[in-house]
C-alpha cells in the first residue's frame, strides 16, 4: 500500500499528526497496535492544567482535535489560577477515559483521506537517508513519502512493580520490541526514560466523609474557540483531597529497598515534576504530609485515580500504604501503581520542524522525543503533521517561535537543550508568558492553521470579526471622554477629588487598578461579547508589562533573523571553546538566537561564531 504520510502510534501525538496530515489532503495512514487504545489516557484522567491548558487552546487554534474532543468528553472542568492574573490562567478538565477515545476516533474518521490500520510496526525502510516505508511484525510493507513516529511509551516498554517486571506497555499491551534498535542502527541516540502511575481505588470502599471535596467551576468553559459549552455545570463529578501521614511515611521508609527505583531494578530516569511518593518522602524528609487527590476516571466505570501516590513498591507494601491514608483505611485497590520504562530518542537530533536530522522525511512527536503529558504530545503531533505535509508540498516548515506559543517553547527546548527526564511544560519555561495567554491563542495562531488548511473559511472569518471587535472597542475607549459629573457614584468615589475639568478618558481610567471594564460598559456606544471585553481589558490594564515583554521579544527576533547556514563546519571555526563546538555540532542551531540558548555556549562563542559567519558567508548571511 502506498501512502503520502504514515503515522505510527494512535496516542495523542499520533491522532493530531494523522488529522493534520489528512486535513491537508494527504493520503494518510494511522497505524496503531490496538484501535481500542486510540487517544488512550493510561495515566492521569486530566486534560489541560497550567501551561498545558493553553497548549490545548493552541492546538485548537491551529485546527487540531484535542480541545474540541475534550469539550464533549469531560466530567469536570475548571479554570486554574482564576484568582491570579490573566497570563497564568488555564483550563483543566477531567476527561472521561471511555468517552474521550470514542469521540476522538469519531473525529478522526471524519477525514476521508485517513485510513486507520491495526498492526504493529517493527521496522522502517530507509533508502539514501530518506524514509520510504514501514514493515509490520508479520513482514507486511506499507510505503510512504513521509513517516511520523508517535510511539509513546511503547518502545521496549517495561512495567515495574517492586522487584518484578514485565516487558509490556500500559494495560498489558504488547510493547514494540525492535523499532528502537532500528533507530539506534540509523544513528539515533536512544535514552531510557521512566514514568509512573498511581493506584486506582474502588469508590465503594472509600469513606468520603473524611475527605474534602473539589468541585468543577460553576461557570461554563470550553477549550475550543468554535464550540459553545454543552454540559451541565451542576452535574460535574467531584474530586477529593487526601493527605499522607506519619504512618504512610514510616511504611515507605521501612520498605524503600523493595521499590523498583530504590532497589536498583530500574534504569530509566524519572521526571522531577512527577516524582514517585518514595521520591517525595526521601527528598523532602521533613515534610509532615503530602497532598493527594482522588479523581474519577469515567462515568462508565467506578475507578478513582489516586493522584500523587505513584510508586514502584511491591503490591503488599502498596496495600499498607493506601490503607494508612485517612478515608482509605478499607479501600480496595482495583489496579496497582507501577513504573514504566521506555526508549526515547535524543530530541537534539531533531530539527525545529520535528523532522530528524539523520533521516529525511522522518518525523517524531510525543514521548519518543522525551516529553511527558498528553498535551505536550498532541502539540508536537499537530506540528509534525503540518510539517510533513509542508515538506511534501515543498513549503517552508511551520516553526512557532518562543514568543508565539507554548508549543514553540516546548519544541525549541527539546531540540536545543535536549532533555534527560520526561519533559513537562510549565509557565516558568516561557520567558514571554505574558503574551502566551489562554485568552489570545486564536489571535496568535489561527492564521497558521488557516494557511495550512486545518482551519476553514468560516472559522477564519470568526477570527477576523473578533479582531475587528477588539480594535473597535479599543478605539472607543481611547476616544471616549466622560465628565466627572456624568459618572456613577461608584466611579466618582474611585476618582476622588476632581482634578480635571476636561473630563476623563476611558482608556486612561481603565488603567487604574480599581476600575474594571464592567464599570465602563455603560459609557460606551456599542456592546461587545464578554470575551472581547476581557481581552481588551487585559491589553489596556497591563499595557506597560506587555510592552516590557515585547521589548524582550524584539531582541529575540533580531537574533532569530540571523540564520546559520546548514552546511557550516564547526571544526573550522578557530577559538571556539571545545564544549561550545561539540554542542553546536550536535544541535546544529538554525539561527544565532537558537545558538544562544544552548547550554555550554557562552556569549564569547556567539561573537566568534558571528564573525566567522560574516567572514565565510558574508554574501548570503542577512546580518540585520
Amino acid at each position: 500500500m502506498q501512502y503520502d504520510i504514515i503515522v505510527v502510534g494512535g496516542g495523542h501525538a499520533g491522532c493530531e499528526a494523522a488529522n493534520a496530515s489528512a486535513r491537508q489532503g494527504f493520503k494518510t495512514a494511522l497505524i496503531t497496535a490496538n484501535i481500542k487504545n486510540i487517544a488512550d489516557m493510561p495515566c492521569n484522567p486530566s486534560i489541560g492544567g497550567t501551561a498545558k491548558g493553553i497548549v490545548v487552546r493552541e492546538i485548537d487554534a491551529l485546527g487540531g482535535l484535542m480541545g474540541r474532543v475534550a469539550d464533549i468528553s469531560h466530567i469536570q472542568i475548571k479554570m486554574l489560577n482564576s484568582g491570579k492574573g490573566p497570563a497564568v490562567k488555564s483550563l483543566r478538565a477531567q476527561g472521561d477515559k471511555v468517552l474521550y477515545p470514542q469521540n476522538m476516533l469519531k473525529a478522526l474518521k471524519e477525514n476521508e483521506t485517513l485510513d486507520i490500520i491495526e498492526d504493529m510496526i517493527e521496522d522502517i525502510c530507509v533508502e539514501n537517508d530518506t524514509v520510504t516505508g514501514v514493515i509490520t511484525k508479520n513482514g507486511k510493507r506499507y510505503d510512504c513519502k513521509c513517516l511520523i513516529l508517535t510511539t509513546g511509551t511503547y518502545l521496549k516498554s517495561k512495567i515495574l512493580i517492586g522487584s518484578t517486571n514485565k516487558e509490556e506497555g500500559p494495560h498489558g499491551e504488547e510493547s514494540c520490541k525492535f523499532l528502537s534498535d532500528k533507530l539506534r542502527s540509523l544513528g539515533f541516540e536512544i535514552q531510557r526514560l521512566k514514568t509512573g502511575t498511581p493506584q486506582r481505588i474502588d469508590p465503594n470502599t472509600v469513606d468520603f466523609s473524611k475527605l474534602k471535596e473539589e468541585c468543577g467551576d460553576p461557570t461554563p468553559w470550553t477549550f475550543s474557540f468554535d464550540l459553545d459549552p454543552c454540559y451541565d455545570v451542576n452535574n460535574q463529578r467531584k474530586c477529593y483531597l487526601v493527605y499522607t501521614n506519619a504512618e504512610t511515611h514510616r511504611i515507605i521508609r521501612e520498605n524503600l529497598t523493595k521499590s523498583a527505583m530504590y532497589g536498583g531494578y530500574a534504569e530509566g530516569i524519572g521526571p522531577r515534576y512527577c516524582p514517585s511518593i518514595e521520591d517525595k518522602i526521601v527528598r523532602f524528609a521533613d515534610k509532615e504530609k503530602h497532598q493527594l487527590f482522588l479523581e474519577p476516571e469515567s462515568n462508565f466505570y467506578p475507578d478513582l485515580y489516586l493522584q500523587g501516590f505513584s510508586t514502584s513498591m511491591p503490591i503488599d507494601v502498596q496495600e499498607k500504604m493506601v490503607h494508612s491514608l485517612e478515608g482509605l483505611e478499607n479501600a480496595k485497590i482495583l489496579k496497582y501503581a507501577y513504573a514504566i520504562e521506555y526508549d526515547a530518542i535524543n530530541p537534539m537530533q531533531l530539527q525545529p520542524s520535528l523532522e530528524t536530522k539523520l533521516i529525511k522525511n522522518l518525523f517524531t512527536a510525543g514521548q519518543i522525543n522525551g516529553t511527558s503529558g498528553y498535551e505536550e504530545a498532541a502539540g508536537q503531533g499537530i506540528i509534525a503533521g503540518i510539517n510533513a505535509g509542508r515538506k511534501l508540498k515543498d513549503e517552508e516548515p511551520l516553526i512557532l517561535h518562543r514568543n508565539e506559543a507554548y508549543i514553540g517553547v516546548l519544541i525549541d527546548d527539546l531540540v536545543t537543550k535536549g532533555t534527560k527526564e520526561p519533559y513537562r511544560l510549565l509557565t516558568s519555561r516561557a520567558e514571554y508568558r505574558l503574551l502566551l495567554r489562554h485568552d489570545n491563542a486564536d489571535l496568535r495562531l489561527r492564521k497558521y492553521g488557516y494557511e495550512s488548511g486545518l482551519i476553514n473559511d468560516e472559522q477564519y472569518q470568526r477570527l477576523k470579526k473578533k479582531e475587528e471587535d477588539i480594535a473597535s472597542l479599543e478605539n472607543e475607549l481611547e476616544s471616549t471622554t466622560i465628565n466627572y459629573n456624568d459618572f456613577s457614584n461608584n466611579i466618582q468615589q474611585i476618582i476622588g477629588e476632581v482634578s480635571d475639568n476636561t473630563g476623563y478618558n476611558l482608556k486612561y481610567l481603565l488603567k487604574r487598578p480599581e476600575i474594571k471594564i464592567n464599570d465602563l460598559k455603560n459609557y460606551l456606544k456599542h456592546t461587545y461579547s464578554d470575551e472581547i471585553y476581557n481581552i481588551v481589558e487585559i491589553s489596556i490594564k497591563y499595557e506597560g508589562y506587555i510592552a516590557k515583554t515585547y521589548k524582550e521579544v524584539e531582541k529575540l527576533l533580531k537574533l532569530e533573523s540571523k540564520k546559520i547556514p546548514k552546511d557550516i563546519d564547526y571544526s573550522k571555526i578557530k577559538n571556539l571553546a571545545s564544549e561550545a563546538r561539540q554542542k553546536l555540532a550536535l544541535v546544529r542551531p538554525q539561527t544565532i538566537a537558537q545558538a544562544t540558548r544552548i547550554s555550554g555556549v557562552n556569549p564569547v562563542d556567539i561573537s566568534i561564531l558571528s564573525i566567522y559567519l560574516k567572514k565565510e558567508y558574508s554574501k548570503d548571511v542577512a546580518d540585520e
Binding site: 491570579k84 537543550k417 510549565l426 578557530k574 557562552n602 540585520e624
Partner: protein, 450 residues
C-alpha cells in the same frame, strides 16, 4: 549589531583628558539628551562642540563633544566622542549616565568588531581581530573569575539567590496552584523585595567608597593667592612639582600629584589662587578652579595664620558651604593674626609647611573624615566601576517598579517581569547567563507532582 555602545577609550589613569566613545544608531540623540550646549542632532558631521554633560540639571563635566555621522567613521555607524576634563571619577560618572540613557557598555574589542562587521576593516585582518577579541575576552574571563572569589561577588550572589528563591516561590504558585505550597501574597512579596532592595541600596551607598578606594580621593587645595597652597602640595609630595614663588598668582594651572595616606590614594589638586583678576591667562585658571571645586571629593581651604580673614574668604567659604571640606590654617609658625570666630561650624586644622610634622594633623583629619580604616576593612565589598554601579542601579529600579506594582495589587505574574529583570541585571554583573536555574530551584525547594 545596531545597539548603542559606549566605553572609556583612553587608558585609565591620571590624564588631563579622558575620552568616552559611543557608537550606534542613536548615540547622537542619546548624548544630546545629556548635553547642554548646541543641539547635536542638528550639527554637521565631523564637528566639535563645547558644552556640559548634565544629569538631572546638575553639571557633571565641562566637555568637548565630537560628532561623526555614519558612514565615514571608524565603525561606519554614528560615533560621538566626549572629551572629559574632570578626572577619572567624573569620566566614570559620564559613562554611568550614558548607560542609564540607553547605551550599553561595550564588550572588549567591540568597536573593532563593529568596524569589522560593518566592512570598515579589510577582511584580511579578520584573523587578527578574532585573536584580539579572544585574548581580550580571555582577560575579562579571568577578571570575572577573580571577582567571583571576591566579597563583592558573594554579596551579589547572595542577593541574586534571594531573588531566585522569591521567583521560585511565585512560580510554584503559578504552575502548581492546587498544591500545598504557601500562597505568595502581595504583602509577602513586598517584604521580601524590600529586604533585597535594602541590601542593594547599601551596596550603592558604598559604591562611592569603592570608587575612592580604586581611583583615590580627589582633594583640591583652595584659597587666596599666597596662603601657601603650593608649598603644602610640595611638602606633601616631597618634591618640587609646582613652581613656588612669592609673587601672588603664579599658579595658573591645576597640578595633580598622588600621595598615599594609610594606604589610600589621595589625588592632590592645586588650584590657581582664587581671586578677582583681569589677567586673561590667570582668569582661565580661576574659572578652572571653580570647576574643580565642584567635582572634588574634599576641599582643603587654606588660610594663612599670619593674615586676617578677608571678605573674599567669607564669600568663597559660603559658596562651598555644602561641600566636604577642611579649613587648614597654614603658617602657624608665624604670628596669629587670624580671627577664627567667624569660622564657626567649620572643621579647622592648624599646621605649617616649615617643620617636617607640620602637616601631620591635616593627614590625620583626612583619614578620619573618610573613615579610612573602615574603607580598608571592607575592601572588595564595594562596587567600583560604572558598569557595576549601573547594573545594580537597574536592579534597584526594577525592584522599585515591582514594588509599585505590588502597591497597586497588580497580578503577581506581571510583577514577576520586573523581578526577573532585577535577577538578570545582577546576573550580568557576575557574567552568568540565565539558563535553567529557576527550574532547578523550583524542583529542589518544592515537592510537586502527580
Amino acid at each position: 549589531m545596531n545597539e548603542n555602545i559606549c566605553a572609556i577609550s583612553t587608558a585609565l589613569g591620571i590624564g588631563a583628558i579622558s575620552i568616552v566613545r559611543c557608537s550606534g544608531p542613536d548615540v547622537i540623540a542619546i548624548v544630546d539628551r545629556i548635553f547642554s550646549g548646541k543641539n547635536l542632532n542638528e550639527v554637521p558631521s565631523h564637528t566639535i562642540h563645547y558644552g556640559y554633560i548634565v544629569d538631572n540639571g546638575e553639571k557633571i563635566d565641562e566637555v568637548l563633544v565630537s560628532v561623526m555621522r555614519a558612514p565615514k567613521t571608524f565603525t561606519k555607524e554614528d560615533i560621538v566622542e566626549i572629551n572629559c576634563h574632570g578626572g577619572i571619577t567624573t569620566t566614570n560618572k559620564v559613562l554611568e549616565i550614558l548607560l542609564l540613557n540607553g547605551c550599553r557598555l561595550a564588550d572588549p574589542g567591540e568597536f573593532t568588531k563593529k568596524a569589522f562587521l560593518n566592512g570598515r576593516i579589510d577582511l584580511v585582518e579578520a584573523e587578527s581581530i578574532n585573536d584580539l577579541i579572544e585574548s581580550e575576552t580571555e582577560e575579562s574571563r579571568k577578571y570575572a573569575m577573580n571577582r567571583l572569589e571576591g566579597n563583592l561577588s558573594q554579596l551579589i550572589v547572595k542577593d541574586r539567590q534571594k531573588i531566585l528563591e522569591l521567583q521560585a516561590k511565585l512560580e510554584v504558585n503559578y504552575d502548581y496552584p492546587e498544591y500545598d505550597a504557601p500562597d505568595m501574597t502581595h504583602e509577602l512579596v513586598r517584604s521580601e523585595l524590600s529586604e533585597i532592595k535594602r541590601d542593594l541600596s547599601d551596596l550603592l551607598k558604598n559604591a562611592q567608597n569603592g570608587r575612592l578606594l580604586k581611583n583615590g580621593i580627589d582633594v583640591a587645595l583652595v584659597g587666596r593667592p599666597n596662603v601657601g597652597k603650593s608649598s603644602i602640595l610640595n611638602h606633601l609630595l616631597d618634591e618640587n612639582r609646582a613652581i613656588v614663588t612669592d609673587v601672588a598668582g603664579t599658579t595658573r594651572d591645576i597640578i595633580e600629584g598622588k600621595i598615599s595616606i594609610s594606604g589610600i590614594h589621595i589625588n592632590l589638586i592645586d588650584t590657581a589662587g582664587i581671586r578677582k583678576t583681569d589677567d586673561v591667562v590667570e582668569k582661565i585658571g580661576v574659572d578652572k578652579s571653580l570647576e574643580v571645586l565642584k567635582n572634588a571629593d574634599l576641599i582643603i581651604y587654606v588660610l594663612s595664620n599670619n593674615d586676617e580673614l578677608t571678605a573674599e574668604d567669607i564669600t568663597q567659604l559660603t559658596a562651598i558651604k555644602n561641600v566636604k571640606k577642611i579649613v587648614f590654617i597654614n603658617k602657624c609658625d608665624l604670628e596669629d593674626k587670624i580671627d577664627l570666630d567667624k569660622l564657626d561650624g567649620e572643621i579647622i586644622v592648624r599646621g605649617n609647611t616649615v617643620s617636617p610634622e607640620g602637616l601631620d594633623p591635616l593627614k590625620a583629619k583626612i583619614a578620619e573624615l573618610f573613615n579610612f580604616s573602615e574603607i580598608k576593612s571592607k575592601n572588595y565589598n564595594y562596587l567600583s566601576n560604572a558598569r557595576e554601579i549601573s547594573l545594580v542601579r537597574q536592579a534597584v529600579q526594577a525592584i522599585d517598579s515591582a514594588l509599585t506594582g505590588v502597591e497597586e495589587e497588580i497580578p503577581l505574574e506581571m510583577i514577576s517581569v520586573d523581578i526577573k529583570s532585577a535577577f538578570d541585571s545582577l546576573g550580568d554583573i557576575l557574567g552568568v547567563t540565565y539558563k535553567d536555574e529557576l527550574l532547578d530551584e523550583l524542583f529542589s525547594k518544592f515537592c510537586l507532582g502527580k
